[in-house]
Symmetry: C2
Subunit: 389 residues, 2 copies
Amino acid sequence: MIPKGFRAAAVEAQMRYKNRPDLGLIVADEFQAGAGVFTQNISQAAPVIWSKSRISQGRAILVNAGQANAQTGRGATDRCQQSASAVAHRLGLPIDDILLASTGVIGQPLNIDALLGGIPSLVKNLSLDGFGDFARAIMTTDTVPKTAETVVPFETGPQPTIWGAAKGSGMIAPNMATMLGFVLTDAAVDKKLMKVMLGQVTDATFNRITVDGDTSTNDSLFMMASGATRPQVIEGGHDAETFRKALHKVLESLARQIILDGEGATHTVEIKVRGARTQNEALLAARTVANSPLVKTAFFGEDANWGRILAALGRSGANFEPYKVDIDIDELAWIRHGLVYCRDLDATLAMRKKEYTISINLNNGHGNDRMLTCDFSYDYVKINGSYRS
Amino acid sequence: MIPKGFRAAAVEAQMRYKNRPDLGLIVADEFQAGAGVFTQNISQAAPVIWSKSRISQGRAILVNAGQANAQTGRGATDRCQQSASAVAHRLGLPIDDILLASTGVIGQPLNIDALLGGIPSLVKNLSLDGFGDFARAIMTTDTVPKTAETVVPFETGPQPTIWGAAKGSGMIAPNMATMLGFVLTDAAVDKKLMKVMLGQVTDATFNRITVDGDTSTNDSLFMMASGATRPQVIEGGHDAETFRKALHKVLESLARQIILDGEGATHTVEIKVRGARTQNEALLAARTVANSPLVKTAFFGEDANWGRILAALGRSGANFEPYKVDIDIDELAWIRHGLVYCRDLDATLAMRKKEYTISINLNNGHGNDRMLTCDFSYDYVKINGSYRS
């Protein structure tokens, strides 16, 4: 169910792809609050810079797939201006109400003629049913569109909806790596609260996934509240916690979908670490295991090569005693006191599942954290060895 | 030419491999000084712990390939004791004169019976001609043995030799990742000077290579000086600098051979960074580019996808202005002021070479450093998806 107050559309602008939508638009006909989270990469694409400064007022988002409009020189900003201006003009909005997002190859000048050519029908197509097309238009190497939605179960009053769409699927890593996300709600949310909440929930979901440790120039997560349902969610209220949980549910679902569709991925693995000296050391440990090419190729080979996990933990920067480490695969007690505890065959069978959890207890404190990762396959190399061609 | 004062041998002990030597021994019949550099991984294999405490007096080194004797519990130390004791007995040396190194799968108990069974013929085979066999015995997924040697060109007096052997070839990263190295010289070198020099030269060579960013539990570099040629090399002397350069030459050659033989590698790429604010930021930048899976798959695909290099630099932690970055491939001016400068075809042709250098100027200071890396290929995934089986 799509939140009230929004319309969406997509068209085949043929900026880089053929025979598929590659230009999408979402408009908030009613608008109450906006917030965003953007890449921390030093090299930031022009649309990121454009949108950051307009995030609290922007009520329309134009997205293109195939070209990142990053590292494209001074012309990049002009092209942002032209794109936003064309959309603003057709919608009858001020240019500063238009947000922009791009994803694709870095360093290729944006095909602005194709983009501008697509805008009239894009605006004309805006409808309450355009969200599926929108989710398809933002895909690059994604193999499936990714959407999630939930009803916010407020105990009294109307129950608003949260809907989200996202794209992956390589260059995914913490700090908002090449990911575009769009979250809409018809709740009325206090502006400041929404900003804080979006940051926290993003940190717990999108910032806990990794495909290859790479982060991009274009990562952006946009959230808009139409405010079509009342009363307003404010800080400290019971509703705020209910809303936060619902938002978490939507972002967690999108994050998982991105990893499930990781480039060439055949397994999705959650790395949980507890018993670290601090939460930061737990995150370091989880991230190092989740990004280790040797661990990820072992996941691909369904090889219960636990020594590689121990070796990754040992170089992570987390402090621990190797002979105190316990590791489980799902419910299977795999490693106890740093030594293998179950039959190798049982561990191998556990790793044949498409999704499983590796739970690591460092037994050295109370810090815990987690990362969601996928394996490294032949296809990861294939996809990324020839992405541009 | 092998330095005077040493003998070596190898045998097929069949600890894990069949029909190839997998157990090697080097003995210094004359011994003047020893030094070593060992893994910084928190999880350290039993032979690493054993050798670290005996490095200054050890004059014989026993090495096995196939089993790491890491994370194998309390029995691991007993097995070190048994191995060293058997060699010491046959050589007529104290047990603390015996150093140990192992490489292979982590977590498998050492096949001590096979190892002990091999020692009598190993000691019997010791000869001045055994060094080639030794270099083959230490290989795991290496496809070729790796040795290097040079004459130290002292202006007066006898000219000693430095010889080295090493094994790679995955799990290679800074901080002495799974690498075993053995360096011999018949120079007489001041003990303290040798230790300092070995650390410095290792940092500039072996600690500047990466195959996959992973570091291991077993990395060890051993150096022994027989002192068969005099006079002694002492600190501050002209000879010390000459000796240091010769040592650098041998270790640099071994480091390059490891990268050339990186698991599945089809290209060797040197990443040079200059113009960083500090040397540390230059190293961060070089290391992040050298370890990026997206950059490494682009190297494999011979795809001049410079945006991935910019994106990796941007998340490295180094501070710079993206539109001031210049990048060359060998002599080709590829990127100027953050934008592509040459024809895409020329850059692609430059990346078809088996070995090339990417020179990055951040134009933000005077820090410089470098890393040597290789590409990520199908075969990397293949080798590491099925290493144990």
